[in-house]
Amino acid sequence: MNLLDSQVQSLLISGNREFGMKCLALGADWPIEELQSPLRTGFPKSLKNIAIDFFNDDIQKEVGLGTRKFMCDIMLHQYHVLFSSMIQLPGCNMPLATRMIDISIADHPDSFLYLLVRAKISQSERSLERSIEELHKVIAVQKDWRQLAHLCFWDLGISNAALGNYEKAAEFFELLFKENEWSKSIYLYFRAVLLYAADSTKYKATISELMKKIPDHLKKVAGKSVPLEVN
């Protein structure tokens, strides 16, 4: 941070969501006019010079090329699709994100990340059967980075649970427990609760065994408990 130009530092610290979204839209070649904010029509004085440089004609000619477009694209999809599925966000535009992801997938049909975003969109639209199918496609697309498949296992677990397929959902959390290190206690708890919902009599012994294992798998980061595990 200390090595950065002071104007760039003020951009990072000022927290101007609207300006940031416009920059990303420019980089990703999204239609900026569909991302307008009613709150700020201008820019704060601290950002004005950066804004003038960023939006000049020479820079605009370079838009749409290379890794920058992909990075900006993914950041915008994170905002409109991923984060908006968790919290209400101002300026969220799912129809636009859906149009843009279909264009991106047409250009890059084997992109793991674009296919994952498409599956998340189906999930947000409550088309869970379609989302489950798309998540399986995502897993099949690449085998090199297993942790990327783990992202899909989580969503497959949640989607099946939302449909009431509790035993199927529990299988994905069992897979996560075996293969992934993010939070084994959460996977154990999820599996126990899902099996309880499926059939508390049939799975009584398994549920009891799983619940007893949870305290042994609680994590500490720098000596502090992880809030999600504690809660």
């Binding site: 004085k45 300026g91 989607s159 939302a162 708890y189 609760v193």
Partner: protein
């Protein structure tokens, strides 16, 4: 009661449940409420107020999910992921308005019983947040703002009696949701030309293009 729904809700899965499944869950909620009523009537014959110590925890939880399910059936969260300028132009049908009204009664019930909750203190502040989201759907933006403020204040409005007894589980997660929801509310009010009350959004440095 319904631990799986509690878990699904905390991990943002409740909004994903399709209508077909919500209708099945509604029947389970009605059945659970009837059972809780029956248990309470029976224990009153023995001179007790409630059949077990966490009775109001279960009652409030079932009402919470019943309120959420009714709200989602009326106006699903998926339909809210559109630009605010389209949101404010929507016209709700009579059945949607009736659905939201019924859902709000389920959620408002929780505020009346929250002081009797034994362990699940998270229910009240989360209930205020979900009630605010309901008011946004109905276009009652000032009510929504009051509910968001109550959610930030442990579940109690400034002009309401009562105080948060204990730090609720997932309180930080709730506060993140509420602050972003208030930012979205300010977007909506600015589009409608109404005054934005939240001082955090004012920008003394801003100037026109």
């Amino acid at each position: 009661m319904f631990p799986v729904l509690e878990l699904i809700y905390m991990w943002n899965g409740f909004d994903l449940i399709p209508d077909s499944r919500l209708l099945i869950l509604q029947q389970k909620f009605e059945s659970a409420l009837a059972d809780l009523d029956r248990q309470q009537e029976e224990c009153k014959k023995d001179g007790k107020e409630i059949p077990y110590s966490t009775f109001y925890d279960d009652l409030c939880l079932v009402r919470f999910f019943k309120g959420l399910a009714t709200r989602e059936l009326a106006v699903p969260s998926a339909s809210m992921l559109i630009p605010e300028k389209l949101l404010i132009r929507r016209q709700l049908t009579k059945s949607q308005i009736d659905g939201l009204d019924y859902a709000s009664k389920q959620l408002e019930f929780i505020s009346l019983q929250a002081d009797d909750i034994e362990y699940d203190h998270w229910i009240l502040p989360f209930c205020r947040y979900e009630l605010a989201a309901l008011h946004i759907r109905a276009g009652d933006y000032q009510k929504a703002r009051s509910e968001y403020q109550a959610a930030l204040n442990g579940g109690y409005g400034e002009d309401e009696a009562g105080k948060q007894k204990k730090k609720a589980s997932m309180e930080t997660s709730l506060h993140i949701r509420v602050h972003n929801a208030i930012a979205k509310l300010n977007f909506i009010l600015a589009l409608k030309g109404e005054t934005v009350v939240d001082e955090e959004e004012s920008d003394p440095e801003s100037e026109e293009d």
